[in-house]
Each structure stands twice: as structure tokens, then as C-alpha cells.
């Protein structure tokens, strides 16, 4: 697909600075993966401790996002990257912003889970199983595409996003119906609807990350295909 430049830069500190930026993105992604898993654990096991962990650790992710911006700007001002290097820096900064928003969704899920945990468990909780699995694997695969510079895996993510959107719509309809029959549990149904919406957003961010990876690796813009000639 792409001719990855094989050699390192003649100025070795340029290579070092790009490697540093890349490892910051990788570090941020694995933290976000962990937070997301903690939130889900807190939700499914009805354990506030996991939720609290995820909320507390979000601060470090925010700091890492700023660090990535800083490192990206530093590389641009010191080395004026072009071609694949330029694309790598730009997409790293954009990916950092999307990971931060995935982590925010993990916090949202954790907060809603704590509210759900205050009440008896609704049988409908299991309806979230599929969207949870889909959102988690989509984000994991986005991170893996970045780590492996795998544009093929990234492109493939986009189709799974449609499935997640559809699941969210169906689930919302079911829960709204249930809400009407069982108004005593209305707040909990609303929380489930909200969590489903968070999962759907995570899928969107995974797709954004995938688009940035495709751009970095192959210089193709796969966003909004209908708007491009």
C-alpha cells in the first residue's frame, strides 16, 4: 500500500522526537482502554470502586492529551516535517483528541453506572452486552491499527460503526417502550439509554481514529466519501 520510509532520519533526534510522540499516543491509548474496561466492569458487576477508578484516572489522560499536542508542535517547529512525517504528526494530534473523548465517554458510563448501582438491577442491562462488545473491540482495533500502522484494519472499522449505530437505535426504542410500562424505573431506563448512546459515540471516535490512521499511512482521506470527487 504505502512506501514506508525504511531509513531513519539523518538527524537522529528527529527520529527520536517522532518516536516519543508515537509512544505518548500509545501510552494514552492503553490508559483509555483500561479506563473504559473499568467503567464497563463497574457497570456489569455493579461495583462502584471500578467506576471511581475510571473517573479518577481520567485526569492523567487529559494531561497526556496536552503532552501529545505539545510534542507534536515541538516536532513541527523544530524539524518542519513533510510528507509521511507531517501526516504522522498531524494524525497523532488528532488521534490524541479522539482518545481523550473516548476516555470522557468512559467517565460518563462510570457516572451513569454508579446511579444504576443505587437501584435494583434491571433485566434489560444484558441488552447492552452486544453494543459493549462492539464498542470495546472497535476501540481496541483502532488502537491496534495505530500500533501496527495497519490501514486495512482501520478501513474495516468503518463498516462496524454502522452496526453499532443500528444497535443503539433499536435498543433505545426497546427501552423507551419499557419505560412506559414500568415508570417506577424510569431514571434507570434513561441511564441505560444514555450509556448506549456513550457506546455509540465511542464507535464514532474509533472511526475517527481509523480515518486518521489511513491518512497517516496512505495519505488518503476516507472521511465523508460522498463529499469528495
Amino acid at each position: 500500500m504505502h512506501k514506508e520510509p525504511s531509513k531513519v532520519h539523518t538527524i537522529s533526534i528527529f527520529t527520536t522526537a517522532l518516536d516519543q510522540l508515537r509512544s505518548s499516543v500509545l501510552k494514552m491509548s492503553s490508559l483509555a482502554q483500561l479506563n473504559l474496561k473499568n467503567s464497563i466492569k463497574g457497570l456489569l458487576e455493579r461495583d462502584d470502586d471500578w467506576c471511581n477508578n475510571s473517573i479518577a484516572d481520567d485526569e492523567e489522560i487529559d494531561l497526556l492529551e496536552m503532552q501529545i499536542d505539545h510534542e507534536g508542535i515541538e516536532v513541527m517547529s523544530r524539524f518542519q516535517p513533510v510528507a509521511s512525517d507531517l501526516r504522522e504528526v498531524i494524525s497523532s494530534i488528532k488521534i490524541g483528541a479522539n482518545i481523550e473523548r473516548v476516555a470522557d465517554q468512559a467517565v460518563n458510563i462510570a457516572r451513569r453506572a454508579r446511579k444504576l448501582n443505587e437501584h435494583p438491577q434491571l433485566p434489560e442491562l444484558h441488552l447492552l452486552d452486544r453494543p459493549i462488545r462492539l464498542a470495546l473491540t472497535m476501540f481496541d482495533d483502532a488502537v491496534r491499527s495505530f500500533a501496527e500502522r495497519n490501514a486495512t484494519l482501520a478501513v474495516e472499522l468503518k463498516s462496524r460503526d454502522k452496526e453499532l449505530d443500528q444497535l443503539n437505535r433499536e435498543l433505545t426504542d426497546v427501552l423507551i417502550n419499557r419505560m412506559q410500562d414500568d415508570s417506577a424505573n424510569l431514571p434507570s431506563y434513561l441511564n441505560l439509554i444514555f450509556i448506549s448512546r456513550c457506546l455509540e459515540r465511542i464507535g464514532d471516535h474509533a472511526c475517527n481514529i481509523a480515518e486518521d490512521i489511513v491518512f497517516a499511512v496512505s495519505a488518503q482521506d476516507i472521511r465523508h466519501p460522498s463529499k469528495q470527487q
Binding site: 512506501k3 520510509p5 531509513k7 531513519v8 532520519h9 539523518t10 538527524i11 528527529f14 524539524f79 518542519q80 516535517p81 513533510v82 510528507a83 509521511s84 512525517d85 507531517l86 501526516r87 495519505a219
Partner: protein, 270 residues
Amino acid sequence: MTTEASQHPLELTNDFAPGESNFIKVDNFKFFYGKKEALHGINLEIPSRKVTAFIGPSGCGKSTLLRNFNRMNELIPGVHHEGDITIHGTSIYDPSVEIIALRRRIGMVFQKSNPFPMSIFENIVYPLRIAGQNTRSVLEETVERCLRSAALWDEVKDRLHDSALGLSGGQMQRLCIARAVASRPEILLMDEPCSALDPIATAKVEELIIELKKDFTIVIVTHNMQQASRVSELTAFFYLGNLVEFDNTRKIFTNPSMKQTEEYITGRFG
């Protein structure tokens, strides 16, 4: 600065397809210094009224090709060429082409500014005087026009009759550009015109280049990648006497097609 081009820098990023309204056509051109083949069959079409940048590592043949456009390389003993170079469809080697006339159509600016040891005024009118033009009003009009187009008028208008050698390096370089445009050439060749200049003088020359392309076809050799991306619409990358890639400057600097180009512009060479 007051030029229109400077207010519309985005103009530079317009897509431009190579080959469109081509002007200088290089056709399977080989060049030899004695037995040494310095250019190995170059094919290239340079469009009119655009800035084309030549980039590539030292010794790849950028200056050699540039200096063939006005047949300056023929002054070196033992050289010969194969293939052809045409301008507006006419071969520059056609027996009907007069070398003096050819050089008048093609101005050249060198790395080291080379003002003549005479006044600023006389430097600019030199090509006109050579051509027999001595009418005072014509000379004065030319001096003002050329100095203005080289963005130098305001700085030197009160000392036109002082020696050109008293100018700063950046001013001398712009004076040489003014002199190069005095004979109203169609093509302006520049070989590393900013390599001895500070950033401010460089910026002034670059702005001048962008302004001049309205009237001239400009080919610039530069080792400064940022300069190539700032001033040119098209970029040709040469390596070891071959043209490796020729494309839109924006394409070259965001997503070049050839691995060698990518390695060179990202600083992964050698």
C-alpha cells in the same frame, strides 16, 4: 509589502497539472562533461508563468540542466548533449536561434549576487546599453520599473548613482533580479538565489518571485525545502542525473509517489 500576490498566498496552493500549457520542453536530454554523463535522458515540461522548483542532493544535475536552458553550459570545453530542449516549440539548438537573443529571453540569477562594479543605475540599464538603447527617459523608466518590481525602489531611489557594491547582500541579490528582468525576458532562471541571504532578505526575494511569476516563467534551484514549498507550484526532484519525480509541489511535500523523493524531503538520505 504592497504586492497583490502577497495578499493572496493561497493562490500558490492551487492544483496545477504538469504538462498544462507547457513552455519549456526537455526531451530525452543527456548532457556530458567530457565522458561523464551528468544528465541521463531527462524528460520534463515546464509550464509558463508558474514557479517550478528543482530540488535534489548536491551533484544531481540541477544546475547543469538549468544552465542548458540558456545554453550557458556550452561555454565549458569538452561538453556535448543529446536530445533536445524546446521553448515555445522551437528548439534552442535550431541553427536560426541566436545565442545572444536566446540569453536575452532568459534571465539568470546566481547563488552569489554579481553586481557589476558600477552604479545601481548603470547595473540595471547595462543590458539595454548593450542593445544600443541610450535614450535617457527610456533608461530612467526602466530603472524605476525594474527596481519597483524587485521591491528595491524605496530603498535605493535616493542613491541610484552610488556604487552597487555598497548595497547589502540581500539588496545586491534583488538588484541582480532587477537587472535580470530589465531586458524583459520570458524566463527567469535562479540558481540558489537565497543561499547567502538572511531570513528577511530571503523573504523579500521569495515575495518577489511570487510577484514576478505573473509575467515570467520561473525555474528556481533550491536546497531549502521550505522555500520550494513556499514559492513553487511544481517541484522536480533529481537524483544522480535522473528526474525521479515531477509533480505539484503540494503533492510532493505531502504525499510524494516515489520512495526516493520521500526519503530525500523527509531527511532520510544517506
